[in-house]
Symmetry: D2
Subunit: 308 residues, 4 copies
């Protein structure tokens, strides 16, 4: 199967993991949501990300999910989140999923890293552990990881570890980080693919500054796909109009600790998964929040009609 | 001068502190921005908040700012942020500003508080230090303070310290927190005023759940005023339309560490302050960000015309 | 096999996991160090703790280590650390090790818990996940977990979850916590066993305040055993003399991120394990530190002779 | 008055600030404790450090304390802690105390700094604010500040800001940091003075690795003075014997949040201050802890007699 590389672009949706109300993996819904993402135009998927509830899986479940999604994806690229507290576990899972046909692995820095050299050293250890033939996505998400990666050390990591092919960019604020990476490349640094996260909250600006697309989730993944497409085609105003229409919902989804429940609710409402249930300790939306999201979904439909 | 109380409502704008390019306080602009806020419909102001660059002032400057704003405010209520690492400094500044005519003081919890009882104890110490005749705004802003205040301990604080008249609500996610405070009041707990922060990012939902208004800043404070007014009048759809129109800019302002520069840029563009300069170590917007904000401001004008 | 209960006492040594220089588990040394701990008087062992390098193991290795230690322990109680980012993984490992004959499991709170109710809720979820027939050791180690457990919430947890039989006490400072738990018990609260950690740094005071023993590691575990024995026998001065003799080394071992390398160096010097190697990303002692530890070990021998 | 420089050595005691039971500054005790420190052999003092309860003072009190101590010190060097949330406050206090005759100022990094370049930039801003004629002590104390300064960035700061003359070294573990600074100097980097903190917990090893002395506090400051003197004279065994005798108390004092109460209790017992009271929100020792410290103080006297 094709691997991701420094020119990968488009939208890699961070896939949810569907559960039934009892907390068991809902394999049919997993198939269905994979289909749904690709029908809406996704280039690829990323499984076992934070919003895929990865840390709640057992190792056996993790591998089974990757297998199932790969089988369903029909050859389209699947990136697998392999972040774990220890290098041995990262190495073991990486070997398994690359054997199965994954397109690359994603690694976020553990929260214990507290200096620039420690972050740099860590990615060196990861690359040593998994081998430099495996394409790596560096997930740069300080709000969640508590690890702030400076521009300087990110560039040293990029220069020193060529198997890091992509940055999942979700520093916040991070628009300048994109501009600085592209400026460094203009000055001769090797290229990395930049796919943006944060639920797409800054996607138009990120594309304008040189991002290659998005790697994030949202209840309406077609928005991500179309904004990336329109921005790539130079249709900035249309892209922003479409983005703005979805923004009240994007914003509602950015609530930390609640966003995934919002996203799963939208996906369930749209028929992409059977139940919006999260595995414990996650909790679903209460009635009041359901009303709020449903109201915003209805307004979105009205607004989309106005735009057409 | 009137004090804030448990029924205070409307919009208390978190005032910026204008500086010239050299970092000196621009007193004329301070007068001008006070006028601007009130012309746009503010009920009151809050000075020396985080977004007022309070920690960058000397104590002498802090008092001078309060004096100047009180003189300009013509009797409208001015809340003063007095958060400081030590109780003695909080006590001293509180005594000074209440003597000058402030309507109350705002206190955020210091980052060292790491258990519920420690948070509770702290507010007890604050009330003892400043005396229970001074109305207190409890600022609940975990993203910035790193102190998470649980519903349970917030309710114990409200019950035990009656001089805490208001919660500046900017937990995130925090919609349920509002619902729970109002539910507790329905069950007999004493009332507190809830004014919402976070740049207004969830203002329509917050008002619908029982907030009394907003205490936050934004380059277009009239949006805050009008959303609060429309929601109070039951015109939810109109409120949301107006809110949605500003949302691309609100979102742009939520970038931590960058938001104040965005806000000051908008205020300077609108003539409310002479310079968008921040005092060091703050930095202004670079050229690229200026372009992005200006584009969003232009789009806002277009959208507002469509709505009228 | 016997389970731990609320009256468990003595010394449960936190076992190291021996590796060879290449990072592979050294099974012979694992047998040898188990023997060593029991020869020095340990009541039981705790495996897969933080200082057992648990997060660096794969799940398969974790189970294999438990099996090996149980086989070697000859029926003496083995507690297993099962802390993991997700409840499913905790449940799976717990079921496996309890089936194999473990005496109980140890669970530290994940760093994401940031309010008292969240900590309480978490232990409820753990007990639900693993079943209330499994004896649980609550590891209270804020310096490492970043989770501060207040006296109040610890007592609510003890009251609400009877299968939590033991507190591994290593809050720092935490002497009062022991006194308060014992005071609550005197007032009718159910008893828990308290075994102390922190490398034994406050062991004499902890025993005097009502601790039942130690659950920690040190290059000279016989010190832990003898201090607990002497304190229990009321021979406070002898206990303190013995403790003081080891204190320069205990102190040297308290260096965060370095302590395990110090401990393994001492164990290797004493023949309890073949190599002091840590698994990556851990690093061993440099030459200078080796000299410092060796000097302190030599001084200890001299001092012990003076005492006899 | 003489300023500190890159060759400053000896013991700068971190002075406590004595209060009466009501929380008012006890000026007579301040004089007395200054005399006490110098009688015990201190080279200089550092006032308004964390253990001087600096954040609990008003600005007026801070300046008054500096004046009083300078008047009493008879020309011996006094360093002043000026850490504050904002640069303007740092600048103002620095100007005041240097005018009064301070020997230099001490600045710890604010907790908001989360990358190596941010830390570097901050010290640049501090030097710009206060002017490069003022000698600066960089306080490197991650356990308290939450800011981890890597060896690499510390060296860049030393190279780029020549007015930083001294490092108050209390990283933990930090022995290698001393060795690396001295190695860099051997390779041509400009010299800095290194005075060690952490209550002296690693003082013998720190001196052996090239520290110039101590800048910390302890109830028995003569231990710091004599260990530094003996180590400088090459009498390592004697130094370590003396150190070991005090170690049970040093250890007891390392309890975070409790250590200052322990220290003040010892100073009050020894007649150096009238009351062990801390200013709120600090709390004194309870009866049980008093008993524990008194017991250790008595044991110390016995042990010192054995050594002589």
């Amino acid at each position: 199967m094709a691997l991701i590389d420094q020119n990968s672009s488009g939208v890699f949706v961070i896939s949810v993991t569907p559960f039934d109300e009892g907390g068991a993996i809902d394999w049919d819904s997993l198939d269905r949501v994979v289909d749904f993402y690709f029908e809406k135009g996704a280039t690829g998927l990323t499984v076992l990300g934070m919003m895929g509830e990865a840390p709640k899986m057992t190792q056996t479940e993790s591998v089974a999910i990757v297998k199932r999604v790969l089988a369903r994806a029909g050859g389209r690229p699947i990136v697998v989140g392999v972040s774990a507290p220890g290098l041995a576990a990262i190495g073991e899972l990486t070997a398994q999923v690359m054997d199965l046909g994954a397109a690359g692995v994603m690694v976020a820095p553990p929260g214990s890293l507290n200096t620039d050299p420690a972050i740099h050293r860590y990615y060196g250890q990861v690359v040593t552990q998994i081998g430099d033939a495996v394409p790596v996505v560096l997930q740069d998400f300080p709000l969640s990881t508590k690890v702030q990666i400076s521009d300087e050390i990110l560039q040293r990591i990029i220069v020193d570890y060529p198997s890091i092919k992509m940055v999942k960019h979700e520093d916040w604020p991070g628009l300048n980080k994109i501009s600085r990476i592209r400026a460094a490349e203009a000055a001769g640094q090797r290229r990395v693919s930049i796919l943006c996260g944060n639920g797409g909250l800054f996607l138009p600006e990120e594309m304008a500054r040189g991002a290659d697309g998005a790697m994030t989730g949202f209840g309406f993944p077609e928005m991500l796909v179309n904004v990336v497409r329109l921005m790539t085609a130079g249709e900035e105003a249309k892209a922003q109009d479409l983005f703005d229409a979805h923004l009240p919902l994007i914003r509602y989804e950015t609530q930390p600790g609640l966003g995934l429940a919002v996203r799963k609710h939208m996906l369930a409402r749209r028929g992409a998964i059977a139940s919006p249930a999260l595995r414990a300790p996650g909790a679903g939306l209460d009635a009041r929040a359901v009303t709020e999201v449903d109201r915003l979904m209805a307004r979105l439909q009205t607004r989309l009609k106005e735009l057409n």
